[in-house]
């Protein structure tokens, strides 16, 4: 039993990537929440991708911790996307009566990454900053936000 084995958080450009590869016990989930928020604050990451494809179940505690982490991250101006939820986990979550609230989810890491990138570009455009996209030039719609 490796008690202090924490889940690695990788920085990739303006994003953080977390892949949960172990069955989370409660304290570990809380520690991960704290670590992610710390890392956001340290790196000013604009978004966090949390891969839960290896999680075989998400109960109310883990679900709440993930939802809370997303809320807390947004107060630090960072967006969280949960990616890779197993279908059986999604079914069980809904039957359990758990809603992840406003947490963004995506099918896999690729889609989560695209989603975050678009989200952040939109936010930057709203703030009148230059988008981060390098390969694809998106034409800003000057006629209004609707």
């Amino acid at each position: 039993m490796i008690e202090s084995n924490s889940i690695p958080i990788l920085k990739l450009k303006e994003f953080l990537i977390v892949s949960i590869q172990t069955d989370l016990h409660d304290r570990m989930a809380e520690q991960l929440q704290y670590d992610i928020l710390n890392k956001i604050s340290e790196t000013a990451a604009k978004g966090v991708l949390i891969d839960i494809s290896a999680l075989e179940m998400v109960d109310s505690f883990i679900g709440r911790t993930l939802a809370d982490t997303a809320k807390m991250a947004s107060t630090l101006d960072s967006d969280i996307v949960i990616v890779g939820m197993k279908p059986a986990v999604a079914i069980t979550l809904v039957e359990l009566g758990l809603s992840l609230g406003k947490v963004h989810t995506a099918l896999n890491l690729d889609e989560g990454y695209e989603f975050l990138k678009n989200l952040i570009d939109e936010e930057m455009q709203l703030n009148g900053e230059n988008p981060t996209q390098e390969t694809e030039v998106k034409k800003p719609d000057a006629s209004g936000s609707d």
Binding site: S60, I91, G97
Partner: protein
């Protein structure tokens, strides 16, 4: 019959892992395995949070049905108002108030005996599809 004692937090992980493994061996599909391990996680956590300790008994038999029966026993404070505890959204601890009603929805049958001051005994059953 398998017995998992709940004394510390990581025993919750042990209980749900053991239940899932037994369910898999019994021939439950992946979604049912997930329902079972999630329900066990909720109810084992209740033991840990409310009673401090207790036990989870996992049996590959729930006569007259073919299925798994899991019993959660503790000598904690008991549940004062069972009806209230079964209400969605109600929680006196730190989960999301999904524990009891959520576990009931994930199971095919749930029995609950509790007396304030005398602990709680909860049994859930999940039946194999015919």
């Amino acid at each position: 019959m398998h017995l998992v004692r709940i004394k510390e937090e990581r025993d919750i992980v042990d209980a749900r892992g053991t239940a899932k493994e037994i369910a898999r061996e019994m021939g439950f599909g992946l979604v049912d395995q997930t329902r079972i391990s999630t329900a066990v996680s909720e109810l084992a956590r209740n033991i840990f949070h409310y009673a401090g300790e207790g036990e989870v008994r996992i049996e590959a038999d729930c006569h007259p049905h073919k299925g798994i029966r899991i019993t959660f026993t503790d000598k904690g404070p008991g549940i004062e108002d069972v009806e209230l505890a079964m209400t969605d959204g109600w929680s006196s601890a730190r989960s999301m108030g999904k524990g009891l009603p959520g576990a009931k929805r994930l199971a095919d049958r749930m029995e609950l005996e509790s007396e304030p001051g005398n602990g709680t005994k909860i049994a859930i059953e999940k039946w194999l599809p015919e």
